[in-house]
Symmetry: C2
Subunit: 303 residues, 2 copies
Protein backbone atom coordinates (compact mmCIF):
# COMPACT_ATOMS: atom_id res chain seq x y z
CA UNK A 1 0.00 0.00 0.00
CA UNK A 2 1.46 3.31 -1.08
CA UNK A 3 0.80 6.63 0.62
CA UNK A 4 0.76 8.42 -2.72
CA UNK A 5 0.70 7.33 -6.35
CA UNK A 6 1.58 9.91 -8.98
CA UNK A 7 0.52 9.14 -12.54
CA UNK A 8 2.64 10.95 -15.08
CA UNK A 9 6.19 12.29 -14.86
CA UNK A 10 6.18 15.62 -16.65
CA UNK A 11 6.98 18.83 -14.76
CA UNK A 12 3.89 18.47 -12.52
CA UNK A 13 4.34 14.78 -11.69
CA UNK A 14 8.07 15.06 -11.06
CA UNK A 15 7.69 18.09 -8.80
CA UNK A 16 4.94 16.28 -6.89
CA UNK A 17 7.29 13.32 -6.48
CA UNK A 18 10.19 15.50 -5.28
CA UNK A 19 7.99 17.05 -2.59
CA UNK A 20 6.51 13.67 -1.59
CA UNK A 21 9.96 12.09 -1.32
CA UNK A 22 11.18 14.95 0.87
CA UNK A 23 8.13 14.38 3.10
CA UNK A 24 9.16 10.69 3.27
CA UNK A 25 5.86 9.51 1.83
CA UNK A 26 5.86 5.96 0.48
CA UNK A 27 5.54 7.08 -3.14
CA UNK A 28 4.89 5.34 -6.45
CA UNK A 29 5.26 7.04 -9.82
CA UNK A 30 3.68 5.38 -12.86
CA UNK A 31 4.43 6.94 -16.22
CA UNK A 32 4.61 6.21 -19.92
CA UNK A 33 7.59 8.53 -20.32
CA UNK A 34 9.64 11.07 -18.42
CA UNK A 35 9.51 14.79 -19.05
CA UNK A 36 6.07 14.91 -20.65
CA UNK A 37 5.51 17.60 -23.24
CA UNK A 38 8.44 19.58 -21.80
CA UNK A 39 10.73 16.96 -23.32
CA UNK A 40 9.21 17.69 -26.73
CA UNK A 41 9.90 21.42 -26.63
CA UNK A 42 12.62 22.96 -28.71
CA UNK A 43 14.22 25.84 -26.88
CA UNK A 44 12.89 26.64 -23.42
CA UNK A 45 13.66 30.22 -22.39
CA UNK A 46 11.01 30.76 -19.76
CA UNK A 47 11.76 28.22 -17.06
CA UNK A 48 13.01 30.65 -14.42
CA UNK A 49 16.61 29.96 -13.50
CA UNK A 50 17.55 28.43 -16.86
CA UNK A 51 18.07 31.18 -19.41
CA UNK A 52 18.35 28.85 -22.38
CA UNK A 53 17.85 25.14 -22.26
CA UNK A 54 16.43 22.68 -24.73
CA UNK A 55 13.29 20.75 -23.80
CA UNK A 56 15.10 17.40 -23.72
CA UNK A 57 17.90 18.87 -21.57
CA UNK A 58 15.43 20.35 -19.08
CA UNK A 59 13.55 17.04 -18.99
CA UNK A 60 16.88 15.34 -18.26
CA UNK A 61 17.45 17.68 -15.28
CA UNK A 62 13.94 16.86 -14.06
CA UNK A 63 14.61 13.14 -14.49
CA UNK A 64 17.84 13.30 -12.52
CA UNK A 65 16.07 15.22 -9.77
CA UNK A 66 13.32 12.56 -9.63
CA UNK A 67 15.78 9.67 -9.63
CA UNK A 68 17.87 11.19 -6.84
CA UNK A 69 15.16 9.98 -4.46
CA UNK A 70 14.43 6.45 -3.44
CA UNK A 71 10.90 6.05 -4.82
CA UNK A 72 9.28 3.29 -6.85
CA UNK A 73 9.30 4.47 -10.46
CA UNK A 74 7.32 2.42 -12.99
CA UNK A 75 8.56 3.81 -16.29
CA UNK A 76 7.09 2.91 -19.68
CA UNK A 77 3.88 1.77 -18.03
CA UNK A 78 0.39 2.82 -19.09
CA UNK A 79 -2.25 3.30 -16.41
CA UNK A 80 -5.58 1.78 -17.46
CA UNK A 81 -7.90 2.86 -14.67
CA UNK A 82 -8.22 4.20 -11.14
CA UNK A 83 -10.87 2.83 -8.85
CA UNK A 84 -11.75 4.28 -5.49
CA UNK A 85 -12.83 1.83 -2.83
CA UNK A 86 -11.57 2.50 0.71
CA UNK A 87 -8.31 3.44 -0.93
CA UNK A 88 -7.41 3.64 -4.62
CA UNK A 89 -6.76 0.70 -6.93
CA UNK A 90 -4.58 1.65 -9.88
CA UNK A 91 -4.67 -0.80 -12.75
CA UNK A 92 -1.80 -0.78 -15.25
CA UNK A 93 -1.03 -2.97 -18.22
CA UNK A 94 1.29 -4.97 -16.00
CA UNK A 95 0.13 -4.91 -12.41
CA UNK A 96 -2.36 -3.48 -9.96
CA UNK A 97 -1.27 -1.11 -7.19
CA UNK A 98 -3.01 0.19 -4.10
CA UNK A 99 -2.56 3.66 -2.72
CA UNK A 100 -4.10 5.94 -0.11
CA UNK A 101 -3.98 9.00 -2.38
CA UNK A 102 -3.47 9.62 -6.10
CA UNK A 103 -2.27 12.59 -8.13
CA UNK A 104 -3.17 12.56 -11.83
CA UNK A 105 -0.48 14.48 -13.71
CA UNK A 106 -0.82 12.92 -17.12
CA UNK A 107 -0.63 16.12 -19.14
CA UNK A 108 -1.98 16.37 -22.66
CA UNK A 109 -1.79 14.66 -26.05
CA UNK A 110 -1.54 16.33 -29.43
CA UNK A 111 -4.73 17.18 -31.29
CA UNK A 112 -5.29 15.79 -34.78
CA UNK A 113 -6.56 17.72 -37.80
CA UNK A 114 -8.96 14.90 -38.74
CA UNK A 115 -8.59 15.40 -42.50
CA UNK A 116 -8.13 12.86 -45.31
CA UNK A 117 -4.66 11.36 -45.41
CA UNK A 118 -3.81 12.19 -41.80
CA UNK A 119 -4.12 8.69 -40.39
CA UNK A 120 -2.57 7.07 -43.46
CA UNK A 121 0.60 9.17 -43.39
CA UNK A 122 1.13 9.39 -39.63
CA UNK A 123 4.84 8.74 -39.10
CA UNK A 124 5.19 8.58 -42.89
CA UNK A 125 5.86 12.28 -43.24
CA UNK A 126 3.30 13.50 -40.69
CA UNK A 127 4.53 14.22 -37.18
CA UNK A 128 3.18 15.80 -34.03
CA UNK A 129 6.56 16.43 -32.43
CA UNK A 130 8.96 18.79 -34.14
CA UNK A 131 11.69 18.28 -31.56
CA UNK A 132 11.57 14.53 -32.08
CA UNK A 133 11.32 14.49 -35.86
CA UNK A 134 12.61 17.75 -37.37
CA UNK A 135 16.08 16.28 -38.01
CA UNK A 136 14.50 13.68 -40.35
CA UNK A 137 13.57 16.44 -42.82
CA UNK A 138 17.00 17.94 -43.52
CA UNK A 139 17.05 19.77 -46.85
CA UNK A 140 13.38 19.07 -47.56
CA UNK A 141 10.32 21.27 -48.04
CA UNK A 142 7.91 20.98 -45.16
CA UNK A 143 4.70 22.47 -43.80
CA UNK A 144 3.97 23.42 -40.21
CA UNK A 145 0.28 23.67 -39.40
CA UNK A 146 -0.88 25.78 -36.48
CA UNK A 147 -1.08 29.29 -35.09
CA UNK A 148 0.33 29.21 -31.56
CA UNK A 149 3.67 28.90 -29.83
CA UNK A 150 4.10 25.23 -30.61
CA UNK A 151 3.67 25.90 -34.35
CA UNK A 152 6.12 28.81 -34.14
CA UNK A 153 8.57 26.62 -32.20
CA UNK A 154 8.34 23.93 -34.84
CA UNK A 155 8.99 26.49 -37.60
CA UNK A 156 11.96 27.95 -35.69
CA UNK A 157 13.50 24.53 -35.26
CA UNK A 158 12.99 23.77 -38.96
CA UNK A 159 14.64 26.99 -40.15
CA UNK A 160 18.04 25.45 -39.52
CA UNK A 161 17.12 22.07 -40.94
CA UNK A 162 14.59 22.17 -43.77
CA UNK A 163 14.94 23.79 -47.21
CA UNK A 164 11.63 25.65 -47.06
CA UNK A 165 8.96 25.93 -44.37
CA UNK A 166 5.33 26.76 -45.11
CA UNK A 167 3.69 27.98 -41.91
CA UNK A 168 -0.03 27.43 -42.34
CA UNK A 169 -2.35 29.18 -39.94
CA UNK A 170 -6.12 28.88 -40.18
CA UNK A 171 -6.55 32.23 -38.37
CA UNK A 172 -5.53 35.66 -39.62
CA UNK A 173 -2.94 36.21 -36.88
CA UNK A 174 -0.74 34.21 -34.51
CA UNK A 175 -1.39 33.64 -30.81
CA UNK A 176 2.23 33.01 -29.87
CA UNK A 177 5.00 35.11 -28.33
CA UNK A 178 6.16 38.14 -30.27
CA UNK A 179 9.77 37.02 -29.76
CA UNK A 180 9.05 33.75 -31.58
CA UNK A 181 7.00 35.40 -34.29
CA UNK A 182 9.88 37.76 -35.04
CA UNK A 183 12.30 34.90 -35.54
CA UNK A 184 9.89 33.29 -37.99
CA UNK A 185 9.25 36.53 -39.85
CA UNK A 186 12.97 37.27 -40.11
CA UNK A 187 13.73 33.98 -41.83
CA UNK A 188 13.56 33.91 -45.64
CA UNK A 189 13.04 30.17 -45.44
CA UNK A 190 9.58 30.56 -43.91
CA UNK A 191 6.51 31.44 -45.96
CA UNK A 192 3.59 32.37 -43.74
CA UNK A 193 0.12 31.55 -45.02
CA UNK A 194 -2.50 33.07 -42.77
CA UNK A 195 -6.27 32.42 -43.09
CA UNK A 196 -5.39 29.15 -44.75
CA UNK A 197 -7.08 25.83 -44.08
CA UNK A 198 -5.39 22.49 -44.66
CA UNK A 199 -7.79 20.16 -46.46
CA UNK A 200 -5.93 17.00 -47.36
CA UNK A 201 -2.58 15.25 -47.10
CA UNK A 202 -1.58 13.45 -50.27
CA UNK A 203 1.16 10.95 -51.17
CA UNK A 204 1.98 7.39 -52.08
CA UNK A 205 4.05 5.61 -49.51
CA UNK A 206 5.10 8.91 -47.92
CA UNK A 207 3.70 12.44 -47.92
CA UNK A 208 4.15 14.26 -51.27
CA UNK A 209 1.83 17.25 -51.08
CA UNK A 210 -0.88 18.99 -49.10
CA UNK A 211 -4.03 20.65 -50.32
CA UNK A 212 -4.84 24.01 -48.69
CA UNK A 213 -7.55 26.62 -49.22
CA UNK A 214 -6.98 30.38 -48.88
CA UNK A 215 -9.68 32.89 -49.81
CA UNK A 216 -11.78 30.04 -51.29
CA UNK A 217 -8.93 29.22 -53.62
CA UNK A 218 -7.36 25.77 -53.60
CA UNK A 219 -3.58 25.38 -53.67
CA UNK A 220 -1.31 22.37 -53.77
CA UNK A 221 1.98 22.65 -51.89
CA UNK A 222 4.79 20.16 -52.53
CA UNK A 223 6.08 19.06 -49.15
CA UNK A 224 7.61 15.90 -47.79
CA UNK A 225 6.98 16.67 -44.16
CA UNK A 226 3.91 17.89 -42.28
CA UNK A 227 4.24 19.11 -38.69
CA UNK A 228 0.83 19.31 -37.07
CA UNK A 229 0.92 21.72 -34.11
CA UNK A 230 -2.70 22.62 -33.41
CA UNK A 231 -2.85 22.11 -29.69
CA UNK A 232 -3.66 19.22 -27.48
CA UNK A 233 -6.28 17.51 -25.37
CA UNK A 234 -6.03 16.34 -21.75
CA UNK A 235 -4.77 12.76 -21.33
CA UNK A 236 -7.47 11.30 -19.14
CA UNK A 237 -7.59 8.02 -17.25
CA UNK A 238 -10.95 6.39 -16.47
CA UNK A 239 -11.81 6.96 -12.81
CA UNK A 240 -14.42 4.94 -10.97
CA UNK A 241 -15.70 6.16 -7.63
CA UNK A 242 -18.69 4.87 -5.65
CA UNK A 243 -20.93 7.93 -5.66
CA UNK A 244 -19.50 10.46 -8.03
CA UNK A 245 -18.01 10.95 -11.45
CA UNK A 246 -14.73 12.82 -11.76
CA UNK A 247 -15.65 16.41 -12.60
CA UNK A 248 -14.36 17.74 -15.94
CA UNK A 249 -14.86 21.14 -17.54
CA UNK A 250 -16.06 21.86 -21.10
CA UNK A 251 -12.54 21.19 -22.45
CA UNK A 252 -12.47 17.77 -20.73
CA UNK A 253 -9.91 19.06 -18.27
CA UNK A 254 -10.01 17.78 -14.69
CA UNK A 255 -11.52 20.45 -12.45
CA UNK A 256 -9.38 21.18 -9.40
CA UNK A 257 -9.58 23.89 -6.77
CA UNK A 258 -6.65 25.99 -5.56
CA UNK A 259 -5.44 23.02 -3.49
CA UNK A 260 -5.40 20.73 -6.56
CA UNK A 261 -8.25 18.72 -5.06
CA UNK A 262 -10.68 17.04 -7.45
CA UNK A 263 -14.28 16.36 -6.41
CA UNK A 264 -13.20 12.88 -5.22
CA UNK A 265 -11.57 12.92 -1.75
CA UNK A 266 -7.97 11.70 -1.85
CA UNK A 267 -7.74 12.19 -5.62
CA UNK A 268 -5.69 15.19 -6.73
CA UNK A 269 -4.64 16.45 -10.16
CA UNK A 270 -1.94 18.82 -11.33
CA UNK A 271 -0.54 20.42 -14.43
CA UNK A 272 -1.78 20.50 -18.00
CA UNK A 273 -4.43 17.80 -17.51
CA UNK A 274 -6.34 20.19 -15.24
CA UNK A 275 -8.29 23.42 -15.66
CA UNK A 276 -5.28 25.53 -14.61
CA UNK A 277 -5.45 28.54 -16.96
CA UNK A 278 -1.91 28.52 -18.35
CA UNK A 279 -0.19 25.45 -19.75
CA UNK A 280 3.44 26.27 -19.04
CA UNK A 281 6.29 24.20 -17.64
CA UNK A 282 6.85 26.48 -14.64
CA UNK A 283 3.12 26.61 -13.88
CA UNK A 284 2.75 22.83 -14.06
CA UNK A 285 5.74 22.38 -11.75
CA UNK A 286 4.26 24.76 -9.17
CA UNK A 287 0.93 22.98 -9.47
CA UNK A 288 2.60 19.62 -8.82
CA UNK A 289 4.05 21.02 -5.60
CA UNK A 290 0.62 22.15 -4.42
CA UNK A 291 -0.96 18.76 -5.23
CA UNK A 292 1.77 16.94 -3.35
CA UNK A 293 1.47 19.10 -0.24
CA UNK A 294 -2.32 18.74 -0.37
CA UNK A 295 -2.00 14.95 -0.57
CA UNK A 296 0.38 15.10 2.39
CA UNK A 297 -2.14 17.19 4.33
CA UNK A 298 -4.92 14.72 3.45
CA UNK A 299 -2.80 11.79 4.67
CA UNK A 300 -1.94 13.59 7.92
CA UNK A 301 -5.62 14.05 8.61
CA UNK A 302 -6.72 10.51 7.67
CA UNK A 303 -3.87 8.28 8.87
CA UNK B 1 4.02 54.96 -19.83
CA UNK B 2 4.80 51.30 -19.20
CA UNK B 3 2.64 48.39 -20.32
CA UNK B 4 3.41 46.50 -17.14
CA UNK B 5 5.08 47.35 -13.84
CA UNK B 6 6.14 44.49 -11.62
CA UNK B 7 6.82 45.33 -7.99
CA UNK B 8 9.17 42.84 -6.37
CA UNK B 9 11.81 40.59 -7.87
CA UNK B 10 11.58 37.30 -6.04
CA UNK B 11 10.67 34.10 -7.90
CA UNK B 12 7.18 35.42 -8.77
CA UNK B 13 8.26 38.89 -9.93
CA UNK B 14 11.21 37.62 -11.93
CA UNK B 15 9.16 34.96 -13.69
CA UNK B 16 6.51 37.55 -14.49
CA UNK B 17 9.24 39.78 -15.95
CA UNK B 18 10.70 36.95 -18.04
CA UNK B 19 7.30 36.23 -19.57
CA UNK B 20 6.56 39.93 -20.11
CA UNK B 21 9.91 40.50 -21.80
CA UNK B 22 9.33 37.56 -24.12
CA UNK B 23 5.96 39.07 -25.02
CA UNK B 24 7.81 42.34 -25.78
CA UNK B 25 5.82 44.30 -23.25
CA UNK B 26 7.33 47.62 -22.20
CA UNK B 27 8.14 46.44 -18.69
CA UNK B 28 9.35 48.10 -15.50
CA UNK B 29 10.51 46.17 -12.44
CA UNK B 30 10.77 48.03 -9.12
CA UNK B 31 12.28 46.13 -6.24
CA UNK B 32 14.07 46.56 -2.95
CA UNK B 33 16.21 43.50 -3.60
CA UNK B 34 16.57 40.61 -6.00
CA UNK B 35 15.68 37.03 -5.16
CA UNK B 36 13.22 37.76 -2.36
CA UNK B 37 13.00 35.19 0.41
CA UNK B 38 14.47 32.57 -1.94
CA UNK B 39 17.80 34.35 -1.59
CA UNK B 40 17.58 33.90 2.19
CA UNK B 41 17.10 30.11 2.03
CA UNK B 42 19.90 27.77 2.97
CA UNK B 43 19.79 24.68 0.83
CA UNK B 44 17.05 24.47 -1.80
CA UNK B 45 16.33 20.88 -2.80
CA UNK B 46 12.85 21.26 -4.18
CA UNK B 47 13.13 23.64 -7.11
CA UNK B 48 12.55 21.13 -9.86
CA UNK B 49 15.55 20.85 -12.13
CA UNK B 50 18.09 21.85 -9.52
CA UNK B 51 18.78 18.93 -7.21
CA UNK B 52 20.83 20.91 -4.73
CA UNK B 53 21.38 24.60 -4.87
CA UNK B 54 21.76 27.23 -2.17
CA UNK B 55 19.17 29.99 -1.92
CA UNK B 56 21.67 32.70 -2.89
CA UNK B 57 22.88 30.65 -5.88
CA UNK B 58 19.34 30.06 -7.11
CA UNK B 59 18.57 33.75 -6.66
CA UNK B 60 21.69 34.51 -8.73
CA UNK B 61 20.38 32.29 -11.54
CA UNK B 62 17.05 34.11 -11.36
CA UNK B 63 18.82 37.46 -11.43
CA UNK B 64 20.86 36.52 -14.50
CA UNK B 65 17.70 35.33 -16.22
CA UNK B 66 15.96 38.64 -15.42
CA UNK B 67 18.93 40.73 -16.55
CA UNK B 68 19.26 38.87 -19.85
CA UNK B 69 16.28 40.91 -21.04
CA UNK B 70 16.23 44.55 -21.91
CA UNK B 71 13.79 45.84 -19.28
CA UNK B 72 13.91 48.81 -16.95
CA UNK B 73 15.01 47.47 -13.57
CA UNK B 74 14.83 49.85 -10.59
CA UNK B 75 16.82 47.97 -7.97
CA UNK B 76 17.10 49.07 -4.34
CA UNK B 77 13.94 51.15 -4.67
CA UNK B 78 11.01 51.04 -2.27
CA UNK B 79 7.50 51.48 -3.68
CA UNK B 80 5.41 53.79 -1.50
CA UNK B 81 1.98 53.56 -3.10
CA UNK B 82 -0.04 52.56 -6.14
CA UNK B 83 -2.87 54.74 -7.31
CA UNK B 84 -5.36 53.79 -9.96
CA UNK B 85 -6.67 56.58 -12.12
CA UNK B 86 -7.10 55.80 -15.84
CA UNK B 87 -3.86 53.89 -15.55
CA UNK B 88 -1.71 53.24 -12.49
CA UNK B 89 0.58 55.75 -10.79
CA UNK B 90 3.38 54.07 -8.88
CA UNK B 91 5.11 56.27 -6.34
CA UNK B 92 8.58 55.32 -5.15
CA UNK B 93 11.03 57.05 -2.84
CA UNK B 94 12.75 58.44 -5.91
CA UNK B 95 10.32 58.91 -8.76
CA UNK B 96 6.79 58.37 -9.95
CA UNK B 97 6.00 55.96 -12.79
CA UNK B 98 2.91 55.37 -14.88
CA UNK B 99 1.81 51.98 -16.12
CA UNK B 100 -1.19 50.37 -17.78
CA UNK B 101 -1.04 47.28 -15.58
CA UNK B 102 0.68 46.33 -12.32
CA UNK B 103 1.69 43.03 -10.75
CA UNK B 104 2.35 43.10 -7.00
CA UNK B 105 4.90 40.40 -6.21
CA UNK B 106 6.37 41.80 -3.02
CA UNK B 107 6.43 38.56 -1.06
CA UNK B 108 6.54 38.50 2.70
CA UNK B 109 8.51 39.88 5.65
CA UNK B 110 9.60 38.01 8.75
CA UNK B 111 7.30 38.00 11.74
CA UNK B 112 8.54 39.30 15.08
CA UNK B 113 8.07 37.68 18.48
CA UNK B 114 7.12 41.01 20.10
CA UNK B 115 8.78 40.21 23.41
CA UNK B 116 10.96 42.37 25.67
CA UNK B 117 14.48 42.82 24.31
CA UNK B 118 13.59 41.97 20.70
CA UNK B 119 13.74 45.51 19.32
CA UNK B 120 16.74 46.44 21.45
CA UNK B 121 18.91 43.55 20.29
CA UNK B 122 17.86 43.39 16.64
CA UNK B 123 21.08 42.99 14.67
CA UNK B 124 22.91 42.84 18.00
CA UNK B 125 22.58 39.09 18.31
CA UNK B 126 19.02 38.77 17.04
CA UNK B 127 18.53 37.91 13.38
CA UNK B 128 15.65 36.93 11.10
CA UNK B 129 17.84 35.47 8.37
CA UNK B 130 19.97 32.44 9.18
CA UNK B 131 21.51 32.33 5.70
CA UNK B 132 22.65 35.90 5.99
CA UNK B 133 23.89 35.82 9.56
CA UNK B 134 24.70 32.24 10.66
CA UNK B 135 28.41 32.66 9.81
CA UNK B 136 28.66 35.45 12.40
CA UNK B 137 28.03 32.95 15.21
CA UNK B 138 30.88 30.50 14.62
CA UNK B 139 31.72 28.57 17.79
CA UNK B 140 28.98 30.23 19.82
CA UNK B 141 25.86 28.97 21.59
CA UNK B 142 22.69 30.09 19.83
CA UNK B 143 18.93 29.63 19.93
CA UNK B 144 16.62 29.11 16.97
CA UNK B 145 13.01 29.95 17.68
CA UNK B 146 10.27 28.43 15.56
CA UNK B 147 8.56 25.18 14.59
CA UNK B 148 8.47 25.05 10.78
CA UNK B 149 10.81 24.48 7.87
CA UNK B 150 12.52 27.84 8.19
CA UNK B 151 13.41 27.12 11.84
CA UNK B 152 14.67 23.65 10.90
CA UNK B 153 16.67 25.16 8.03
CA UNK B 154 18.24 27.65 10.38
CA UNK B 155 19.17 24.89 12.82
CA UNK B 156 20.64 22.75 10.01
CA UNK B 157 22.78 25.62 8.81
CA UNK B 158 23.97 26.29 12.35
CA UNK B 159 24.99 22.67 13.02
CA UNK B 160 28.17 23.23 11.04
CA UNK B 161 28.85 26.65 12.48
CA UNK B 162 27.69 27.12 16.08
CA UNK B 163 28.87 25.28 19.19
CA UNK B 164 25.40 24.46 20.46
CA UNK B 165 21.94 25.09 19.03
CA UNK B 166 18.81 25.27 21.17
CA UNK B 167 15.79 24.74 18.93
CA UNK B 168 12.84 26.29 20.74
CA UNK B 169 9.38 25.40 19.55
CA UNK B 170 6.25 26.72 21.20
CA UNK B 171 4.23 23.74 19.94
CA UNK B 172 4.65 20.10 20.89
CA UNK B 173 5.71 18.98 17.41
CA UNK B 174 7.27 20.39 14.23
CA UNK B 175 5.42 21.31 11.05
CA UNK B 176 8.41 20.94 8.74
CA UNK B 177 9.64 18.24 6.37
CA UNK B 178 10.57 14.91 7.88
CA UNK B 179 13.86 15.01 5.96
CA UNK B 180 14.86 18.23 7.69
CA UNK B 181 13.64 17.08 11.10
CA UNK B 182 15.80 13.97 10.83
CA UNK B 183 18.92 16.01 10.18
CA UNK B 184 18.21 18.09 13.26
CA UNK B 185 17.46 15.07 15.45
CA UNK B 186 20.62 13.31 14.27
CA UNK B 187 22.86 16.14 15.36
CA UNK B 188 24.23 16.05 18.91
CA UNK B 189 24.73 19.80 18.71
CA UNK B 190 21.01 20.49 18.66
CA UNK B 191 18.87 20.41 21.79
CA UNK B 192 15.18 20.46 20.92
CA UNK B 193 12.86 22.16 23.42
CA UNK B 194 9.24 21.56 22.46
CA UNK B 195 6.25 23.23 24.16
CA UNK B 196 8.58 26.03 25.14
CA UNK B 197 7.78 29.71 24.96
CA UNK B 198 10.42 32.41 24.64
CA UNK B 199 9.66 35.23 27.06
CA UNK B 200 12.54 37.69 26.96
CA UNK B 201 15.86 38.42 25.33
CA UNK B 202 18.48 39.70 27.74
CA UNK B 203 21.93 41.27 27.33
CA UNK B 204 24.01 44.40 27.62
CA UNK B 205 25.32 45.68 24.33
CA UNK B 206 24.70 42.30 22.68
CA UNK B 207 22.47 39.31 23.46
CA UNK B 208 23.67 37.28 26.46
CA UNK B 209 20.70 35.06 27.41
CA UNK B 210 17.07 34.26 26.75
CA UNK B 211 14.33 33.49 29.21
CA UNK B 212 12.04 30.60 28.24
CA UNK B 213 9.14 28.82 29.93
CA UNK B 214 8.45 25.09 29.65
CA UNK B 215 5.75 23.39 31.75
CA UNK B 216 5.28 26.66 33.68
CA UNK B 217 8.93 26.52 34.70
CA UNK B 218 11.23 29.39 33.84
CA UNK B 219 14.69 28.69 32.43
CA UNK B 220 17.55 30.93 31.42
CA UNK B 221 19.65 29.80 28.46
CA UNK B 222 23.06 31.37 27.80
CA UNK B 223 23.19 32.23 24.10
CA UNK B 224 24.89 34.90 22.06
CA UNK B 225 22.70 34.53 18.99
CA UNK B 226 18.93 34.31 18.55
CA UNK B 227 17.49 33.24 15.19
CA UNK B 228 13.79 34.10 15.03
CA UNK B 229 12.06 31.92 12.44
CA UNK B 230 8.37 32.10 13.25
CA UNK B 231 6.95 32.84 9.86
CA UNK B 232 6.17 35.95 7.97
CA UNK B 233 3.51 38.42 6.94
CA UNK B 234 2.64 39.71 3.44
CA UNK B 235 4.57 42.81 2.37
CA UNK B 236 1.75 45.08 1.32
CA UNK B 237 1.83 48.38 -0.56
CA UNK B 238 -0.97 50.91 -0.07
CA UNK B 239 -3.32 50.82 -3.06
CA UNK B 240 -5.77 53.59 -3.85
CA UNK B 241 -8.53 52.96 -6.37
CA UNK B 242 -11.56 55.14 -7.09
CA UNK B 243 -14.39 52.82 -6.06
CA UNK B 244 -12.89 49.87 -4.29
CA UNK B 245 -10.38 48.78 -1.69
CA UNK B 246 -7.91 46.06 -2.56
CA UNK B 247 -9.39 42.83 -1.21
CA UNK B 248 -7.34 41.01 1.43
CA UNK B 249 -8.09 37.77 3.30
CA UNK B 250 -7.94 37.23 7.06
CA UNK B 251 -4.16 36.81 6.90
CA UNK B 252 -3.80 40.17 5.11
CA UNK B 253 -2.86 38.36 1.91
CA UNK B 254 -3.99 39.83 -1.41
CA UNK B 255 -6.94 37.81 -2.71
CA UNK B 256 -6.44 36.69 -6.32
CA UNK B 257 -8.41 34.30 -8.50
CA UNK B 258 -6.88 31.53 -10.63
CA UNK B 259 -5.79 34.18 -13.18
CA UNK B 260 -3.93 36.19 -10.49
CA UNK B 261 -6.48 38.99 -10.89
CA UNK B 262 -7.20 41.14 -7.84
CA UNK B 263 -10.58 42.84 -7.45
CA UNK B 264 -9.13 45.95 -9.17
CA UNK B 265 -9.05 45.66 -12.98
CA UNK B 266 -5.51 45.83 -14.36
CA UNK B 267 -3.97 45.08 -10.97
CA UNK B 268 -2.59 41.57 -10.56
CA UNK B 269 -0.69 39.88 -7.74
CA UNK B 270 1.49 36.78 -7.58
CA UNK B 271 3.47 34.66 -5.17
CA UNK B 272 3.74 34.73 -1.40
CA UNK B 273 1.99 38.09 -0.98
CA UNK B 274 -1.24 36.45 -2.21
CA UNK B 275 -3.68 33.88 -0.86
CA UNK B 276 -2.03 31.07 -2.86
CA UNK B 277 -2.11 28.11 -0.47
CA UNK B 278 1.55 27.06 -0.58
CA UNK B 279 4.46 29.45 -0.13
CA UNK B 280 7.14 27.70 -2.15
CA UNK B 281 9.68 28.97 -4.67
CA UNK B 282 8.38 26.81 -7.52
CA UNK B 283 4.75 27.76 -6.75
CA UNK B 284 5.55 31.48 -6.66
CA UNK B 285 7.41 31.21 -9.97
CA UNK B 286 4.45 29.49 -11.63
CA UNK B 287 2.13 32.09 -10.17
CA UNK B 288 4.28 34.90 -11.61
CA UNK B 289 3.92 33.34 -15.04
CA UNK B 290 0.12 33.27 -14.73
CA UNK B 291 -0.01 36.91 -13.57
CA UNK B 292 2.16 38.01 -16.47
CA UNK B 293 0.09 36.19 -19.08
CA UNK B 294 -3.08 37.59 -17.51
CA UNK B 295 -1.67 41.13 -17.68
CA UNK B 296 -0.77 40.49 -21.32
CA UNK B 297 -4.32 39.30 -22.00
CA UNK B 298 -5.73 42.38 -20.25
CA UNK B 299 -3.53 44.67 -22.38
CA UNK B 300 -4.54 42.90 -25.58
CA UNK B 301 -8.18 43.51 -24.77
CA UNK B 302 -7.80 47.13 -23.68
CA UNK B 303 -5.16 48.56 -26.02
Amino acid sequence: MYDLTIIGAGPAGITAAVYAARKKLNTLVITKNIGGQAALSGEVGNYTGYQFISGPELAKKFEEHLKSFNINLQEGVKTLSIEKTDNFKIKTEKKEFESKTVIIATGRTSRMLNIPGEKKFKNKGITYCATCDAPLFAGKDVAVIGGGNSALDAAIQLINIAKKVYLININDSFQGDEIRLEKVRNSDKVEILNSTETKEIIGHEFVKKIKVVKDSEEKILDVEGVFIEIGSTPSLIPVKAPDSELELNQYKEIVVNEHCETNIPGLFAAGDVTNIPEKQIIVAAGHGCIASLSAFGYLSKTK
